[in-house]
Amino acid sequence: MGKQVRVSGCKAVAEAVKAANVDVIASYPIRPYTGTMVELARMVAEGELDAEFVHAEGEHAQLSVVLGASAAGARVFTGSAGVGVTYAFEVYSPTSGEFHPVQCMIANRTLDPPGDFGSEHTEAMATRDQGWIMGWAASPQEAYDNTLIYYRLGEDPRVMLPQFPCQDGYFVSHISGPVELADPGQVKEFLPEFRPARALDPRRPVIMGPQCHADQGAAIELGRAEAMRNAREIIPQVYDEFARIFGRRYDPFLEEYKTDDAEVVFFGQGAHTVPARLAADRLRAQGLKVGVVQLRFMRPFPTDAVAERLARFKVVGIIENSNSFGSAFDAGPLTAEVHASLYYAENRPQILTFLAGLGGENIRLGAYGEMARAMHAAAQAGRVGDGAGHVGEGAGRVGGGKHVFWLGFEPLGDAGVEHVAASEDGDGGSDGEGGGW
């Protein structure tokens, strides 16, 4: 049984990096992830963690430093946020393509624009096709656990892929919560020392990343595709091991809350799934059968689990915290992936998408209530709504009524809800504790 502390998500990750006995760390400041690096710098300076701490000259260099270090055989850590994540973009594909299992935490932040300090998943989502394992933590404890779980998963010889453990900036990264720290014996059992089969070692020389012919390209890509499929297969085993050793059991792919009798569910990842749980409790008191499904991995995306487990609900309401301009339904990547996963399902739920929390805007409890009522109306009607909206008009009408909504900017379909203001300093309406409940 480890020590109980109260720390932020950033600090929790630093504690996990220390527990993982990382060898090389590459830093560059950008809010809101910086807190992790500040903490790691302190740990190295005070001798708590024996690691090389490299002051990279930018995120591109951060990723390059840890790539080189991982290629040489070290366990490595870096992190970033917002525009830093996109600045390093060139290095992501070589990292996964040459199978360097580096870990790069992301504490989410908007890109420019809007460029504010708020959390939005867009920057991380932009990297989702680069062959990295990716998923979100919803609390400091999950952030701590994910750091260890992702190392274990990424360094598995059948996987050897880099990882993006994400956490919502500020919400998770800066707001403290209870965290149970592992004791060294537990970590040693769960996470063996990193010993790659092939490294840049003059005693056993290898050539890493040579050029190839066009007819070898697909064959190389196949290796990465297989590694990602392998990751999906072994994720449940890793979570079983984790539960056995640490005593905390997570559903490996989809964490469900009060779904046994639920007709409608919120579907999302990361921080926003936490107030969604509270909202579900309150809505249930009003007689609405609401549940919550929290997605653990964006990559590998658990297509089968999503198809099998969402099929039993009448309506799924996606909390989409990321833009993908001009994409299917003019929504975001999560919307596209959920729809695609359900295409072959026998019973397909109605799907509503709420573009919510963009720019890091808070989603207040009242807003969850509005969303739930919109979902409930769709469940009653057996179809998604006809409501017209001033934002994204015409969007999300393929094969039915409007089903994509910019939360706070347009009425939510047939729910009879005229206006939802999501902002905490919004102009009244359903905002605030009392409104609409």
């Binding site: 020389p205 290898v206 190839c212 012919h213 066009a214 007819d215 697909a218 064959a219 190389i220």
Partner: protein, 362 residues
Amino acid sequence: MALQPNLIEVTVWYRGVVEGRLARQVTNSLADAAQTEGSYVQAFDNYTDLPDRVYVPCRSYARICPEPIAEPYTYVNSNPSLVVCTDAALVKGCNVLKGIDPGGTLIVNTRRDPEFVLGLVKDLPQKARLKKVATLDAGTAHQPNTPQGGIEGSTEKAGTMRTAAALLGAIAKVTGMVSLETLTKKAPAAAEMMAHGYAFVRELANPDYDPNDTASEAAEFGRRGKVDLIVPAPLPNGSQEGHITGNYRLQRPVVDQKICTACKICWVSCPDACITMVKDDEAAAAAAAAGEADGGLDGGADGAVPAAADGGGSAATGEKVKVNLKYCKGCGICWNVCPLKCIKPVDELDFAGGVVRITYSI
């Protein structure tokens, strides 16, 4: 061509950089002329040969077809009915007849006769599909006087056509795929050289041609199965078997071992590490090996052929310097830097041995 019987594929083999313009002049002029005569055409360079490097064997292509070309976006001509080589050492060093269409033609720019060129073709099934061989001394390619490169996909016909014009005249005469009149009309300034090529090309009907062999060699589908991006390194003092470079060579360095003082200037100057100094105890062994040295196909065992072995020199006793002919590109640095001028360039075609083949997929 099983897929499109009326498609004529023309493959021009050339030396990277120094003959790039020449090859493109041939393929583009052919395509232009055929288009004038009413055909659908394409002209392009093999993308996987690029970026071209000095002396590396490369290919430029033309395609001519009376109907729209069915597979316009492929990197290679799988079954050429005409193969043109800008020098005969390409026939010796490369698998230039790979996939040749039954009844196909080979035209080579060389002062040597067609019989000699035919003698360089070692692959018997390919040889059986070859109907005609022709040679023409069209002169050496014009050495470029400006930096070359970044011109892949170019349709340039700029500059004076001399060698290319003569080769075009020969192509018109031997294959009739386009007429001399059309070629001349498109490039009046080159008319004289075209007429020269038309008049002086020497043709030979291949006695080993088998008219009953009518099946095209199947185009290779790329290798399948997972490929690793981390590969083992070669051994120290070893060589990289994945790319054998002896077929870059037009001229071979021949060392006069009697004059050589083993000063190592050539050794230290070779970019390809193809010169090794013979240590005293190795000299005897090298002499013994000299007798059996003659390379086979596919990068065979001619890696360390002492020059004397088939250069007509004296016995290899007292040998001081070895040249790795499996990899030597014939750049000429060694014979240029030798303070005693005891390394001489000799035409690769003057040696029977040392046939090497590109080992990568072509």
